[in-house]
Amino acid sequence: MKWTGDLAHFPYPFKDSTYRYSNNSIPMKQPFCIEVTPSYKKEMLLKRKLLSDHPERCYQSLPHSITGQWEIVELLIDHLISQYPQHFSVEKENNSWIFFNKILDEKVEFIFGDENSLSCEPLFFISHHVQEDLIYMRQRDDDLYLDAGQLCFPANWSLAFNIGMKFKNIHHPIPGFKEEGLDQRILQFLMRLEAGTPWERLNWSLMAGDRLDTSLETFDQWGKLRKHVTRENAGELVHIRVEVQKLFRLPRTNSILFSIHTHLLSLEQLSTNREWLQQFYEILSELHAHIVEYKGISHYKASLMHYLEEQLERVKAT
């Protein structure tokens, strides 16, 4: 799903001309865990289809996560109506809530805190109204556990496999993450997260194709495109995939909500910004081999570099 908005609003993830794994979280300026973009309707259609067709792949929860799920519902509805009052509203009478999604022309009535008043779990319900993927991490025994999640647009990982895992174990496959002590540092950072002071970070990878649903479960389908990248088609085929990750402490359950909003931009579009093009080329030129491999670039890095060099030459000539 290609970026259709103004390029100036794309969450371009780089500040320097080198890239290393780091805790690049920053305090949020606008403390909202959701964003409604021009592709809302299209993405909600896709997300709902995935949730309906592949519930096990896209949704997982442990029984003790229900209280936290209600906290997420409350937070998200609060953010939706505060940030987008023209699109969302809620009527509350004691615990009886009526939620209105005016974009999709929908009305949902439920009793807050009563699971039986919804036809599904609370997290599953609210997932149908936001573009973000939602991950719920519960803090206990001095650790964070993935106790529930809705994940339709993952960057090549499996929620079904990772459910119930501790933070460090989730990140075990990332090369160098443990060796450099980043897993411990980020875990400590997250466990000190305070209610009312949310943080955000950008994460990036490259992919061949423009699918949002790049789950590990379907890697055998979409991963094949990596073999088809050439210097001629790289601009159109290769996309930078940026995840805007937001971190909110949920005070009642002392847990954390990660919301993940994924954006895709073709290299063709990225190259129209001269500064981005130059910086991105420099970053890729010196990117460590283990990061190249983990981010899935190694199959087509040579073609990609040729493409970017051609673009740089074109820009210099103009």
């Binding site: 079904a160 496999f161 119930g164 895992m165 174990n169 075990h172 496959p173 890697f219 991963g223």
Partner: protein, 151 residues
């Protein structure tokens, strides 16, 4: 799951449990327990059946530490049963011997396949995808993640 028992000090009571071969593997920790004058029971699992052991373990008090030594091939079902009773990972040392199978979670269809320990690749029993066994482990699934072996 280990193949050698390590003595853990300071528990209220110890239970050394296994079949005949398994109890031999526990002899070093059993002797250590005796030397220290600790409270313990020795439990022979002669037919590798869970029922009697389950009743015995259910009747134990909090703070009881269990050593369980049995063939790798049946270790997982015992582990599951002990967890259901309420024995957490830190309450038990699981010692295995003999042939070992590795559970492998298929990244495509979530089937858990059993692979020989030395086998790096296998085909999923359910969806036939060729999997490469990784070292990413899920305690919840008790399985290692199998990735797409080739595109």
């Amino acid at each position: 799951m280990k193949n050698k028992a390590v003595f853990i000090n300071g528990k209220r009571k110890y239970i050394f449990c296994g079949d005949e071969q398994g109890l031999k593997l526990l002899s070093n920790v059993l002797e250590k327990g005796k030397e220290e004058g600790l409270t313990y029971d020795r439990y022979l699992l002669s037919d590798l059946k869970m029922t009697l052991l389950q009743d015995f373990l259910k009747s134990q008090k909090m703070g009881t530490f269990v050593y369980l030594a049995i063939p790798f091939l049946v270790l997982q079902q015992f582990r599951k049963a002990l967890e259901d009773i309420g024995y957490l990972e830190e309450d038990v040392q699981y010692i295995g011997y003999g042939e070992r199978k590795i559970p492998v979670f298929c990244c495509r269809c979530h089937e858990i396949n059993m692979s020989n320990q030395e086998q790096n690749r296998l085909f999923c029993n359910r969806c036939s995808l060729e999997l490469e066994v990784s070292d990413h482990y899920s305690a919840m699934h008790n399985a290692f993640l199998g990735y797409v072996a080739k595109l």
